[in-house]
Every structure is written in C-alpha cells, then in structure tokens.
C-alpha cells in the first residue's frame, strides 16, 4: 500500500484573524478518506467541521489562513494550490452542497441555467446540448417535470426541491468527492430522509467519496461509513460507525451520544455522562397514564380547551381589479391552515404539537398565544373564552401574562440593544406594571436564579452570551410574569445537542417547580417525547393522531405518523 490516500489532511492548522486577535480554528487536524467512502464529520457549532471542508476546497475567507500542515486531494496539495488551479478542481473534481439551499442558489437565475453554468464552465456540455444535459440532471435528482422546472426560480421551489437542484449542480460534472455541509438543516424530517437517501444513492452509483458534515449524530450514523468527532478545532475521535456508538473512547463523544435524544432515552440520560449516572436525582417524571394522576386531573378543570379551531387564509388576490370595499366572494373559501382542531391541556400537563412545516402547528400556537385571530372556533383558557378578545387588543387583557411564549431562535428573539436584565424586566414593566427599580431588579435576579443564569451575566447584551445562555434569558423572560401556560415554539432547534439537553432538563424542572402547563411545538418527536406526556400529530391543518407520547412514538397507528417517526435518523447500537 504505497498509494497515497484519496484525500488526506495532515496536521492541518488554520488561524482566523478577529478583532480580539488571532483565533486558532483548526488545530492539527488529521483525516483521510478512501475512494467511495463516506466520512461523517460530527461536532457542535464552532468545532471546526466546516472550516476543515472549506480549507480543503480552498474557500477559506480572507480572514482565515493555513498556519500549518497540508490537505491533499488525489496526490495534489490543495493548501498550496493557486486560485485558478483550485477553480478548475471545484465543481469538476470536488463539489459542495450547503445548508439553506434556497439561499445558496442565485435567486434571480432559473435553476436550469445555474446547472448549465457549471456544465459549461467545466466543458461538460456545449452551448447546444447544455440545456438537455441540465434537464437530464434535474431528472436524475428525481425532480418531476424537469423541462418545466428548468425555468423555475428558487423562490418557486420548496426547500427540498432547492436542495435537489443543489445536488444536481454538485453532481453535474461527475466529481469524485462531494462535501455536504449540513445538507438537511432546516428541512422537514421526511424531506431530510428523502434528500439524504438521494445523496447516498447517487454517490454510490458514481463511487464517489463523501464528506458529510453534520451536528446530528443520528444522521451520521445512518449515512456514514466512518465518523470523526471534532471539538474546538481538534479531532477527538475517529472510528467506524459501529465502534463509535458501541465503544466510544473519548469523553466528548460519550457526552454527545448521550445528549442526542433517541426513541428510548430519558431526560436524565441526556447529561448522564457529565453528571454521572442518573440515579433518581430528581423525581421521575410522573406518567400521565398513572390512574391516580388521571383521576386528579379529571377533577381539575382543563386549563386550556380548544374547540373546533379554524384559521383560513384568503387565496392570493384574484386576478382583476377589485373595489377595496367589495366583499370577498363567499363561494371561494381560502386555504385552511388550521382545519377544525380540538384538544385540551390539563393543569400542569405538557402537550406536544408535532408536524412538518406547513402543517399548521405554528398557526395554532400563535392563535392560542392570541397573536393571531382565528377564523372560527373557541379557546377556553382558565374558564374564559379568549376568542372574545381581538388579537391586537389582547395585550391589554389581564390574561396576557398568563399565556407566554418561548421562541425558536434565542438570538433573533432578543432585542440586541437590551441587556439580559432589560429583556427579562420588560414584561414585568409592561404586564405587571412594576415601576420600582429595586423590585424589578430583585425579581429579575430571582428569575435568573430559577433558570440557572449566573447573575453577573445579567448586564450583558445578547451577542455577549452563548446560545444556551440566550435560551435561558428567553425562558426567564417568559416565566417572569407567572404564566399558567407556556407555549414553547421549537425552543431548542437552534441549539447544539448538549445545550439542548440542558435546556430540556431546565424546562422539565421549571414545570414541576412552578406548576405550569406547556404547549410544546416541535418537529422532533424524540425531543417532544422527553418533555410531554401527551402528543398531537398534525398534518395539513388537521389532527392526525393523538395520545400518550411514548405510545404514539413507539406504536404509531396512522401511516403519516409512522413515516414521520421512521424518518428521524437515529442510531440504535444494537442494530448496527
């Protein structure tokens, strides 16, 4: 075996110039890939997985610099190659697909043309047959009506379709190495599975090597042959999939594996590695199936009752000019985002609301949070019908403080000009009408303690806080006004798994301590199962299935739920 490996990265170090001096992004990274092999690179944000790929392909941005070591591709040194040499290789020998496919495509160029650009650049087609070849590529990535889609713009296609187009572009010139950088982040689970299966099939057909960069251990387990785990710019472990999951060697790998929620994991297991075995540190979550508990709940009235909720959106403006005062045509009923759903939440109960994007789960939660008016239906909250108030006036009602939300993106949902203290104090001032500065400060500090946010961080601005800390601020802000119902809209989807584990545990602990009810909106059944007793599965505005969370996840009765459950990439060490 004197032949050099197909791709080898040796002792690669990369520095980034930042305002605070030089930061080492990669530290002596070693990896190699054989022909036709799929290598998974796993790690949390900032671990250097993307930087590794960008260095290999020569796309490091201006602030980055290779400080040592080398990256070789098929006997050629990529780290010292000239830009024009690299440009010839990119797209022809090595190609790349990115996350957020819609943003990664030129928004004002037909997708077919974008495929042609690559074909023409690498002389894989002539002007005469480029179009036919582009359509053929669209066909290969299983896009229906490729002739028609050739002229589509990215905004006219779904996220999954855009990623297919990206794959078509990446594979157009038959490269020998494909780098997939979080290719399915932001896509629905079923779309995610279809996309990953497509990548696997197409790359196997062509005997291509693949670097799959992901934060999702389950996905790496399902699609990679070998996995390297990265942490803070270093490779901490390299192993084939089976070894990695059955006998993880490094503590960080163990921590990551534990923190990834699987179909059978419990909340305490998530941080078992860091905290030691979870021998009933906290009282076990009481299952709602417990008959005693159920009787007690029945005696208690429901906290929230949703009855036949409908939200209709009018179709886009009809063709032709209309008088502004003319009534919309009754016969033409619009699109029903929420189509007659009913459910209840008991006091102290958590209900999971699960479904893919566009299923109506966010609309439902916004209506319950009274940020949006329903078309019809009732919301009985704490004995009062909330639909009697208009959404734009609900902020003045005393019930406003009783229903609070925790939003999806902890960064976007905090005002960048407010310190953590200001953010948490805001609802106290607005809803509780507390004006005394000392009282506000006292309350905020209490909230910070409750959510485990160190008090010295309270004076910091969002950009000075980590993702987990921002999530805590978001939660503290929501619970500051003593709500009875907390609506959690994908509160952990923007967080790393290890942070997610801690936040989930915090939420569970707060629920028992404060006796709140949760409406947990998520696309991830495994996460929902950890926090909720009951779960509702929605599809196209309707409830498809509901029941106890464990039950629904393990024995789905409906076809749709089964597909949803099956699509979640997960690792079961026994089945590897």
């Amino acid at each position: 075996m004197t032949q050099p490996p197909f791709v080898s990265i040796e002792q690669l170090s990369v520095d980034f110039r930042t305002r605070n001096g030089i930061v080492r992004a990669l530290d002596k990274v070693e990896l190699s890939i054989k022909k036709g092999e799929t290598l998974g690179i796993v790690g949390e944000s900032g671990s250097g997985k993307s930087v590794t790929a960008y260095t290999l392909i020569g796309l490091l941005d201006a602030a980055g610099r290779v400080a040592g070591g080398s990256a070789m591709f098929d006997g050629m040194t990529m780290t010292g190659a000239s830009e024009s040499q690299l440009r010839d290789l990119r797209g022809r020998e090595i190609s790349m697909i990115f996350q957020n496919p819609r943003g990664a495509l030129n928004p004002i160029r037909p997708v077919g043309k974008q495929i042609e650009d690559v074909l023409l650049r690498h002389a894989r087609a002539s002007r005469q047959n480029a179009r036919a070849k582009a359509i053929e590529m669209l066909q290969q990535v299983r896009i229906v009506e490729p002739e028609k889609r050739y002229w589509s713009f990215p905004f006219e296609l779904s996220g999954g379709m855009c990623q297919r187009v990206m794959i078509a572009i990446a594979l157009a010139c038959d490269p020998r190495l494909l780098i997939a950088d979080e290719p399915t982040t932001g896509l629905d689970v079923t779309t995610q599975k279809a996309t990953m299966d497509l990548i696997r099939d197409l790359t196997r057909e062509r005997n291509m090597a693949v670097i799959l960069i992901t934060h999702d251990l389950g996905m790496a387990a399902a699609y990679a042959d070998r996995i390297i785990v990265m942490q803070q710019g270093q490779v901490v472990e390299t192993a084939d999939v089976k070894t990695l999951f059955t006998r993880p060697a490094h503590d960080y790998t163990k921590k990551l594996i534990a923190a990834s929620p699987g179909p059978y994991s419990e909340l305490d297991d998530l941080t078992a590695v860091t905290n030691g075995p979870a021998d009933a540190k906290r009282p076990r979550r009481v299952s709602a199936a417990d008959p005693g508990q159920q009787a007690a709940a029945a005696a208690n009235k429901f906290l929230l009752e949703v009855i036949d909720l409908v939200k209709e959106y009018p179709h886009r403006q009809k063709q032709g000019w209309q008088w502004p005062w003319s009534k919309p045509d009754d016969a033409d009923s619009g699109f029903r985002a929420v189509d007659g759903i009913s459910f209840q939440i008991k006091r102290g109960e958590s209900l999971g609301l699960v479904g893919e994007s566009g299923c109506g789960k966010s609309t439902t939660s916004s209506i319950i949070a009274r940020l949006l008016d329903p078309t019809s239906g009732d919301i009985i909250f704490n004995g009062q019908n909330l639909t009697t108030f208009r959404a734009d006036q609900f902020a003045h009602q005393p019930q406003r403080s009783l229903i609070q939300m925790v939003f999806q993106d902890p960064t976007e949902s905090l005002n960048p000009r407010y310190t953590a203290l200001d953010a948490i104090a805001e609802p106290l001032k607005r809803l509780k009408k507390i004006t005394a500065a000392t009282e506000i400060k006292q309350r905020v500090e209490k909230m910070a303690d409750l959510v485990g946010l160190p008090q010295h961080l309270l004076t910091r601005f969002p950009h000075q806080l980590s993702g987990g800390q921002k999530a805590r601020v978001g939660i503290a802000r929501a619970i500051a006004v003593d709500p009875l119902l907390l609506i959690l809209d994908e509160p952990t989807s923007a967080l790393d798994v290890s942070v997610q584990a801690v936040v989930l545990q915090l939420l569970d602990q707060l629920k028992t301590e404060l006796g709140m009810s949760y409406l947990f909106v998520s696309h991830d059944l495994n996460v929902v199962r950890l926090l909720c007793e009951r779960v509702i599965v929605m599809n196209r505005g309707k409830i498809v299935e509901q029941g106890l969370a464990d039950e629904v996840l393990r024995n789905p009765k409906q076809e749709y739920t089964r597909i949803l459950v099956d699509s979640i990439p997960h690792f079961e060490p026994d089945n590897l």
Partner: protein
C-alpha cells in the same frame, strides 16, 4: 404577453391618483406664493385702477375654486395656459425647453453611472485598497459640494483659468446654428444631420454642466453599488458559485452584479429625481435654456401658469421614470410582481 400588459396598465392606473394630487398641490402652492402677478405685470408706474384691470384680465379676481376649475378644464384640453413672462403658451415653452434639460440630465446621469458603477464594483471587490479610498473621497465630495459651487468652480478652472471650455452660455456657441429639430437633443440632431462640427460644439458646451450634475449623482450611485456588491459577494449563492469553480467573471457579473443591480436600479430612480431638482441650479449657473431656468424666471414673476406647468411636467416625468424602473425590475427580478 397580455398578462404583463394588463399589469402595466394597472400600474399606470395607480399613477392617476398621484397625478391628480400633483395638480391640486401645484395649484395650491402657486397661489400660496408671496407676490401678486397683477402688480408685477401692471408695471412699476401702474395705479390701483390699472392693477385691477390686469387682475381681471388674468382672471385673478375670481374665487380660488373657480380659478381651479378653469385651470383643470383647460388642462383637460391640453391647455396649460399662457406664460405671462414670455407671452407664449406654457406647453410650447416646456416642449421646446424640455429636451435641453433632458439632454443635460441624461448626460449627467450617464456619466455618473459610467464612473460610479465600475468604481463601486472595484471598491467592493478590493475593500481597503486605494480604489476603495478613492471611492470614499469621491462619494464624500459629491455629497458635500453643492452643485452651484461645483459648477462655478469648474467654470473658474476650465473656462477662466485654462480656457479649455467654451463660455458657459447655453447649449451652443452663438457662432453655430442649432441643428434641425428632430428629437430636440442637439447631440443627436446634429449627428442625424451629419453635422459633426455642430456636434462637437454642442458637446463642448455640455461637458461642464454634465460633469457638475454627474458629480452630484455619482455619490449615491457609487455608494449603493459598493454596498450592494459587498452584500452580494458575501452571499451564499456567490459562495455556491465559487464552490462550483465558476470563472471570476461569471461570479462577478452573472451572480453578484445582477443581484446587486436590483437595489441599484431603485436608487437610480431616486437619483434621477434629485437631478431634476439639481438641474434648476445648474441651468442657472450655465445659462442653460432648460425648463429649470424657465421655472426660476416664472417663479420670480409669480407666473402662475408657467410654474404650475413646470411642477406638473416634473411630476409626470418622475412618475414615468419610476414606472420604467418598476418595469425594468420586474424584467430582472422574477420575485417582484407588479400586482402587489
């Protein structure tokens, strides 16, 4: 494409309320001006009686509402009234002067675009380089120097000190005859007539005022080009294009610039309307016989019909230019739909 024609028609209809508003406002504004045209035109020696006579002759003794309806009904017949200053119909005055203003404005805008867009692109592709600094200096100069100052400064240097430029007195030196009227643009007309001598003479007259306007227009265009190119170059689709090994040219023009051109076009529409305003001063400085000069003279004399006509034509021009920019945007950007 009948669908698109329908959209264009609808977009044109949307302009109607603005035009109606402009008619009302221009009427009201001119009446609110200080000064009494009757006194002005009756002359310095006039007594009460002759002023009243003039006032009656001008129809100014009627109520404002009456005057307005007379104005509107004349307007509907395409009659903008008589200019008291020149004694000619306002419409005729505007039509003969408009080409002069447009020739100047378009040349100025064209110059600005030709300089600013490449400059902004170069600055965006090489941030921190000398060209980026040059761009910044020019932008600052363009913003901070008023047009009348730039105009006088250029005249001082190129006419008075160096003597390279002809005397800043209108569109053509008195030695030349204007070319036969076809478009009203001297440059084009002289070329059509095959009269290269007149062409060069007209061009020599045009250079200084056009540069004065151009420097003014350059600043916002260069700044916008630089900013939108920077954001396009940092975008994910440009990263994709680079990851696919597309040539530098293709990445820069097809991927980055076409996207950057969208906000740029919107800016161009705004800059054009600034130029219409700046024109008035530049025409005054260079004695350019455009509608700006005409408007100043009318304003001084409280020449109602002329001022109204000027405001109205400027507003219409503005509406037309923005309409064209909207249409262009829909052609370039598939996401823009005019029905919204």
């Amino acid at each position: 494409m009948p669908d698109q024609l329908l959209q264009i028609g609808r977009r044109l209809l949307q302009a109607v309320p603005s035009v109606i508003g402009i008619v009302i406002i221009s009427f009201a504004l001119t009446r609110a001006l200080p000064g009494d045209p009757a006194v002005y035109f009756a002359g310095a020696m006039a007594d009460e009686e002759s002023i009243a006579e003039v006032r009656q002759a001008l129809g100014l003794d009627r109520s404002l509402v009456e005057q307005f309806f007379i104005y509107v009904s004349n307007l509907l017949q395409g009659d903008l009234g008589l200019s008291l200053n020149t004694g000619l119909p306002v419409l005729e005055e505007l039509l003969t002067r408009l080409p002069a203003s447009l020739e100047l404005t378009f040349t100025g805008l064209g110059l600005a675009v030709l300089i600013a867009v490449p400059l902004g692109m170069l600055a965006a592709t090489r941030p921190g380089s000398w060209i980026d600094h040059l761009c910044r200096v020019l932008v600052t100069a363009g913003v901070s120097l008023p047009t009348f100052f730039t105009g006088l400064f250029l005249i001082y240097i190129f006419y008075f000190l160096l003597g390279w430029a002809p005397s800043p007195l209108g569109r053509l030196d008195i030695l030349y005859l204007p070319p036969p009227h076809v478009t009203g643009f001297y440059l084009i007309d002289s070329l059509l007539a095959g009269d290269s001598e007149t062409f060069w003479a007209a061009l020599r007259q045009l250079v200084l005022p056009a540069f004065t306007l151009g420097l003014f227009a350059l600043a916002p265009i260069a700044r916008m080009t630089r900013a939108s190119m920077l954001s396009a170059l940092g975008s994910e689709y440009v990263r994709t294009a680079r990851a696919n090994g597309l040539s530098h040219r293709k990445v820069l023009f097809t991927y980055a610039f076409r996207n950057a051109a969208l906000p740029l076009l919107t800016t161009l529409g705004m800059v054009f309307s600034f130029l219409l305003g700046a024109n008035v001063l530049v025409e005054k400085v260079f004695a350019w016989p455009g509608i700006g000069l005409f408007a100043i003279e009318a304003l001084v004399a409280s020449d109602y019909a002329a001022v109204q006509g000027f405001v109205l034509s400027m507003a219409l021009l503005f509406v037309v230019v923005n309409l064209m920019i909207d249409l262009l945007l829909t052609l370039i950007d598939p996401r823009v739909s005019m029905s919204d």
